[in-house]
């Protein structure tokens, strides 16, 4: 956990330098005045936190500051940090369902096109294999050209079996087969790679519900984890994505991918606030080890470190 925390902090270093470093600088010395609030608002919006969540955060902090009679801007940082942490912690405090022991754990991975699902799945497989789990991958993205090949290459790299049909095959059948063969081989976890789909495509969302249904019929309470992979570069649309995917297949968590760029991923605050979906993992690079458990404390601390 400590090592992972370090990795998350490192990946946020750029974020910090370019942006949240500014908050810290901003909140360093001066007095509490209108300019401070405007700047604060500006900085949150620029982190893709979104208007509603930004305004709500600023209002809450303002209220706290008034109640506690805070006059120093530096104290405001502390209050804001606590509020941001509370937002993320409100849903993420209960332990991940994956910590529980069961015969076969099914993880369903969903998301829009190009968010980073396949890469994230490879990292997840590697992550759980390191913990001694026998992981099987289900290549249920039968739509995109060479998506199956892509997963197979990753499967080879991380040493996980990939269950695949031909391109264009029924993704539900792939899931069925993958679960059956996981049971036969005594695997402990199956991770399902689904085709990227825009949340506004009705038929594709229905297909996803069907895939989910097949998994839940094969294994008790499956899928045990349904993860939405979000590109950290995404703006306010991420909230719509999360809302639609949650409605159709019920999300248990978010994986924030591509956090190694300059994008801040601030939309997770809005997702936590409005939908109550916690962040589970963050993707911090292109190599197989670049996946860290999301830790709200580390995340918020990282944002405020100077």
């Amino acid at each position: 956990m400590a090592k992972e925390g370090k990795k998350l902090r490192e990946s946020l270093a750029r974020t910090r330098g370019s942006f949240f470093g500014q908050i810290a600088g901003l909140l360093g010395a001066s007095e509490v005045n209108d300019e401070l609030w405007d700047d604060l608002e500006a900085l949150l919006i620029q982190a893709d936190v979104g208007m509603d969540t930004t305004l709500s955060l600023v209002e809450t902090v303002k209220g706290q500051v008034a109640r506690q009679g805070i006059t120093k801007a530096s104290r405001v940082q502390h209050v804001l940090r606590e509020e941001m942490l509370a937002l993320l912690d409100a849903n993420g405090s209960e332990p991940s369902v994956l910590e529980r022991k069961r015969l076969l754990t099914v993880i369903l991975v969903v998301g829009v096109n190009g968010s980073g699902k396949t890469t994230t799945i490879a990292k997840l497989a590697h992550y759980y294999q390191k913990q001694g789990q026998h992981v099987i991958l289900a290549a249920a993205d039968t739509f995109r050209a060479a998506a199956i090949d892509q997963l197979k290459v990753w499967g080879e790299r991380v040493g996980a079996t990939v269950i695949a049909h031909r391109p264009g095959a029924d993704p539900g059948a792939v899931v069925f087969d993958a679960i059956k063969s996981s049971q036969a081989r005594g695997a402990e976890m199956v991770i399902i790679d689904t085709a990227g789909r825009l949340h506004t495509k009705y038929n594709l969302m229905k297909e996803l519900e069907k895939i989910r249904g097949i998994a839940s019929k094969q294994v008790h309470q499956a899928p045990h984890e349904t993860l939405l992979v979000l590109d950290a570069t995404t703006g306010q649309n991420a909230l719509n994505q999360a809302r639609h995917f949650k409605e159709s297949v019920g999300l248990t968590g978010v994986v924030l991918a591509k956090l190694d760029g300059t994008a801040k991923g601030g939309i997770v605050f809005a997702i936590a606030r409005e939908l109550g979906v916690p962040v589970r993992f963050v993707g911090t690079g292109e190599s197989i080890d670049d996946l860290a458990r999301f830790d709200a404390q580390t995340f918020v601390d990282g944002l405020f470190e100077t």
Partner: protein, 444 residues
Amino acid sequence: MFENLQDKLQGVFQRLSNRGKLSEADVDVALREVRLALLEADVNFKVVKDFMRRVRERAVGVEVMRSLTPAQQVVKIVNEELMATLGEPARLNLDGPTPRTIMLVGLQGSGKTTTASKLALFLRKSNHRPLLVAADTRRPAAIEQLQVLGRQLDIPVHVEGVDVPPATICARAIKKARQGAHDVIILDTAGRLHIDEALMDELAQVKSTTHPQEVLLVADAMTGQDAVQVAENFHQRVGLTGLILTKIDGDARGGAAISIRSVTGVPIKFLGTGEKTGDLEKFHPDRMASRILGMGDILTLIERAESALDQEKAQRAGERLLAGEFNLEDFLEQLSEVKKLGPLGQLLEMVPGMAKVSRDLPSDLTDHQLRRVEAIISAMTMAERRNPKILNASRKRRVARGSGTNVQEVNQLLAQFRQIQRMMKQLGRAKGPSGLAKMLGGFR
């Protein structure tokens, strides 16, 4: 949560509607809403600030046109500025000696490979002989993906494997293109972070060896505030000549287009509108502007309707409709025409002010109801369709059985139909189509 700008401005309109001039206060009230709309649409914060300043300068003191309310006048100015920022749609630059080279660059997952194949198809349709080049040696199976797409389109793909430097691959592809009489080469490069020095160097190298006519940034329409940094970095390192905005078929407002245009000044060349290789469309600044402002995409809807509907049939039905002669037979015909346009929910989203309604409406419900209506009418005889009044209890029972519904539903449909007839008669008496045209032309 994010209501549509249209809804919000309606409130503003009401508050301002009685005044006849644009005072500073008027402008500021209206602009506050516009600012929110732009930020919610992911236009970069600093770009919004700059934009608001320009609009304010133009708007304050302006004489309100007689046909507009003050708020509409503000929106008109906002719209004009937005369109100016978005710029005119630009064509591909295919000048110079063959083979001409188009280089696609962008972040991971922005849609370069799919776009490459779409561009190739587009070029072939306009009588070019494109060659696709698999220069993404990093992502697993990226080469295979391009090969599969090339095979589907029957467009050749130049492939050398993952161990050859991309610049070398591209240089050899140019040679091969000359031999194979290809006149356009499309380079599909690996997705990369704009701050990855080594990979950006690699991209600069590809550019200096291939001298591309076009260096197009492929950017996801869902990109947030970071679009500015991404575009700036790519522009600095490889000198962009244009932008392709992808995944525009989702519900992202696409404010990134404004951000990227503002910092690079390069024109928007195409929009990616779906997963199929034909889903590449021209960019229309007016539509993009209303989309970013959250005013719906009525023009796309109209265009789609124009291309899908049988004009003559529609006109005939329209005339009969207004004359009050519209019968169930016409209704059935109209239903099947409307269905050609796509799912109802999707249609509603394009209508200003309706996006919110359609979000609350389960789309299966509406389409499901449409199917039932179709079934009921189909189960009627021609005589019954032309003159629904002859439907007595026994006929209704037969229709219900025949359509797999019940008498109640048949009655419901008939009642609704009578209501529509009445409404249309009134509309026809009132003004005819000019009223409708006025409604649609509100913001132009």
